[in-house]
């Protein structure tokens, strides 16, 4: 039982903190967001050189053999600087899926390309009307000779418009909400029948709605066993949730630092507003919430890779619940304590708030995950 980062993780943490502070400032970030793709290729290459893009891939595929704790270190720093590049989409979600569920050929084909920064992938899983129900898939993949024909509509595809390839979940059997009967396919974004609507998001990221109309995919591009993709999807999303929890913690720490700085300097009634006890206690509560969220982000990272499903489900959902609630509180109060300035686009606090808000919505909000924990109480006995 110990909570210490390894020496390597500590070094990684230090260098990322430097990077974010020195090379990912407010203005530069603004420029990246307003650029065409919302991604800075130089920054992305920089990440590749630092080894970040293949951190958790096996060494055989140009990775460093890292784990979810390493991802936590990365994401916490990305949260601190509100890094908008598609690390979650490409590395954690898509890369993680290929790593955990792909066959050797797929790994050899894809992972080195992600690690080098050349390839961007995205996971196209959620569908309209599914809300946060992970097994709700209506997109179909119909076997047609040695090919599959994929048809359906995907939503909330993180950085889907920037990806060269998509990992698409589709129903190969079963009913709309069934966990069994799901399969995963690798689809080129440029394939015939793929239509991508790319949107900016309020927090400077990108998301896409993607429709598939009889898109032909060769059987080689099936990832894992047919009909049995659900566990791999769930695990990828859980790894994504753990990464988001860490990112939220970084953003909360940044929000607390920015707010503390603001209330120490902003004066009203002749004194810094940080002298008002109500604001002091508010900051204390923001600090408490952040500390607890940090603990839960560690728990999420520790459990995200576990194959003990009940224990993982409880840990991940407890973490997303409390982190989501903390993100809401810290985000709202950070803005509130910034007063009028807090609701302008000029303040970093406003951007932290937007990201914290939308992190809560990604992969299930606090309500959704609390329900997971709650319903888990019906089946456990301890």
């Amino acid at each position: 039982m110990n909570f210490d980062l390894s020496e390597e993780q500590q070094m990684l943490n230090d260098s990322l903190r430097r990077f974010v502070t020195n090379e990912y400032g407010f203005e530069k970030r603004g420029e990246i967001i307003s650029s065409g793709t919302g991604i800075n290729r130089a920054t992305w290459s920089n990440f590749a050189e630092m080894g970040l893009l293949g951190f958790t891939f096996p060494e055989d595929y140009d990775g460093l053999g890292g784990n979810a704790i390493d991802t936590m270190v990365v994401m916490e720093n990305f949260g601190r600087g509100l890094v908008v590049e598609p690390y979650l989409a490409t590395v954690v979600l898509a890369g993680g899926l290929i790593r955990d569920a792909g066959n050797d050929a797929q790994k050899a084909d894809i992972l080195p390309g992600i690690a080098s920064g050349e390839r961007l992938l995205a996971l196209a899983h959620y569908e309209p009307g599914a809300r946060y129900n992970l097994s709700h898939v209506q997109t179909t993949a119909r076997k047609d000779g040695d090919h599959f024909l994929i048809s359906g509509q995907k939503t909330a595809v993180l950085h889907g418009g920037q990806a060269n390839q998509l990992i698409v979940s589709a129903r190969t059997s079963g009913g709309v909400n069934d966990e069994s009967g799901l399969s995963l396919f690798l689809v080129d974004s440029s394939a015939k029948g793929v239509k991508v609507d790319d949107f900016a998001t309020h927090d400077g990221h990108r998301t896409a709605e993607i429709s598939f109309s009889n898109v032909t995919v060769s059987a080689d591009n099936l990832i894992g066993a047919i009909d049995e993709a659900f566990p791999a999807i769930e695990k990828a999303v859980d790894l994504g949730i753990a990464a988001l929890c860490a990112e939220a913690v970084g953003a909360m720490e940044a929000m607390n630092a920015a707010t503390l700085e603001y209330i120490k300097t902003r004066k009203q009634f002749g004194v810094p507003i940080g002298k008002f006890q109500v604001l002091q206690h508010r900051m204390a509560d923001m600090f408490i919430q952040t500390e607890q969220a940090k603990t839960m982000a560690i728990l999420a990272a520790s459990e995200a890779g576990s194959d003990d499903l009940a224990s993982r489900r409880e840990a991940i959902s407890m973490a997303k619940t409390l982190v989501g609630q903390a993100a809401r509180y810290v985000g709202q109060q950070g803005v509130q304590l910034h007063g009028g300035m807090g609701v302008t686009d000029e303040m970093f606090a406003a951007h932290l708030f937007k990201r914290l808000t939308l992190i809560n919505l990604l992969f299930g909000d606090a309500d959704h995950h609390l329900a997971q924990v709650s319903d888990g109480l019906l089946t456990t006995t301890a």
Partner: protein, 395 residues
């Protein structure tokens, strides 16, 4: 004690409803109900329609061109307008500067300014806050020096909502540095077309242009635009705060929004069921519904109280803004992950392009972000609690 509306009040409600059905243009209704980008022309058109009916100023006495309605009628009118999808009328003229002019202005000022407000010809904005004077409003520094029959105004105002459209601004300015900060403040009306005024946009966190900074560089304002007495402006400003009763809680708007939220919860799907069947979402909706009901009745209780609202109006401000913010938060949450997308073009009436998720999801996150202002502007909720603890509780 009787919580039912009288038959006369119900008849009045029916009359308002019918009028709205007959006269609220469809494009305006659509724009409001879809929560699209607000539009100056829309506000002006609607004000003109109301004005032509004689309903341009629901809170004014008849002698100034108002309706002469009692508070309950005002509430009914507001509620029906909101439920029908009418745009909010512009408060700055109708509910803020007008009562000050009526109460403290001279006859000439009343004749000169009130007609343009009720007809909607003049767009007003507010010049109170300054970069260094937010919650501590009395520390404002924008100066007005008397020179002959003019004041020369220098300084900067900020958080000026919709100032980019304004013909006039009502300002608190410093005319004296003697005594307590509150004592040297005057209330001045300034034509926005006067040379030396510059309006610079502040972009809000939702990416929209709604508020502004207003700079005054040797702006020459006729002394006849001074309201009441020089250095007495703080008194008029406080009067204004006390006067603003019904608008604070915003009940009509929130009732319309609650209705919408319930519809959205029935439309949005949560897997194989409508979102309303999700117990957790529905419970929070129910909680908010109960709180809104309590707010609505509390407003009516305060309004019909012969002693008037007094500082207890701070309750309405606090609860009204908290409930409003939660309504927008739930609308966003109803959109789920699709609420993330920021599709600026989709806030225009003629947008037909792609969107993420439902029509309702499109404006939801931006609205939620924008509405954080509610607990900050107009006297932050912390300031409101200070007011309650000092003026009501005597602490």
């Amino acid at each position: 004690m009787d919580l039912n509306y009288t038959p006369e009040q119900e008849a009045f409600r029916a009359e308002v409803r019918q009028f709205l059905e007959d006269n609220l243009p469809d494009d305006i209704r659509e724009r409001v109900q879809k929560r699209l980008r607000p539009d100056k022309a829309m506000t002006e058109r609607w004000q003109k329609i109301l004005f032509d009916k004689g309903w341009g100023a629901s809170t004014w006495p008849k002698e100034f061109g108002g309706t002469g309605w009692d508070p309950i009628q005002q509430i009914i009118f507001e509620e029906e307008c909101a439920l029908a999808g009418a745009p909010r009328q512009l408060d700055f003229g109708l509910r803020m500067v007008a009562p000050v002019i009526m109460t403290f202005g001279n006859d000439e000022q009343k004749q000169r300014f009130l007609p343009g407000i009720v007809s909607g010809e003049d767009w007003w904005c507010q010049g109170y806050s300054e970069p260094g004077a937010g919650s501590d409003l009395a520390s404002l520094r924008t100066s007005a020096k008397r020179e002959g029959d003019h004041y020369i105004v220098n300084g900067q105002k900020t958080w000026t909502t919709l100032g980019q459209h304004a013909d006039w601004i009502f300002c608190l300015v410093r005319t004296s540095n003697e005594g307590k900060p509150q004592q040297g403040i005057s209330f001045l009306l300034i034509d926005m077309n006067t040379p030396g005024i510059e309006v610079r946009p502040i972009i809000m966190l939702d990416g929209e242009h709604e508020i502004n900074e207003v700079y005054f560089d040797n702006v020459k304002v006729p002394a006849e635009n001074l309201i009441g007495e020089e250095n007495q402006g703080w008194t008029y400003a406080k009067f204004l705060l006390g006067h603003e009763r019904t608008g604070l809680a915003n009940v009509g708007q929130w009732k319309a929004m609650m209705k919408r939220l319930k519809e959205v919860a029935r439309q949005e799907q949560d897997g194989q069921r409508p979102l309303i069947e999700n117990t957790r979402f529905r419970d929070r909706l129910a909680q908010l519904d109960a709180e809104l009901r309590a707010l609505e009745l509390t407003v009516l209780r305060v309004l019909t109280d012969k002693r008037g609202p007094g500082p207890q109006a701070s309750i309405l401000k606090i609860r009204g803004t908290e409930i409003g913010q939660q309504l927008f938060e739930m609308l966003m949450e109803a959109g789920g992950q699709d609420a993330s997308a920021h599709i600026s073009e989709a806030l225009e009436l003629d947008y037909n392009g792609p969107r993420a998720g439902s029509m309702e999801a499109t404006p939801s996150a931006g609205d939620y972000f924008n509405m954080r202002k509610l607990s900050i502007f107009g006297g932050s909720n912390e300031i409101q609690r200070n007011i309650i603890s000092q003026l009501v509780l005597g602490l």
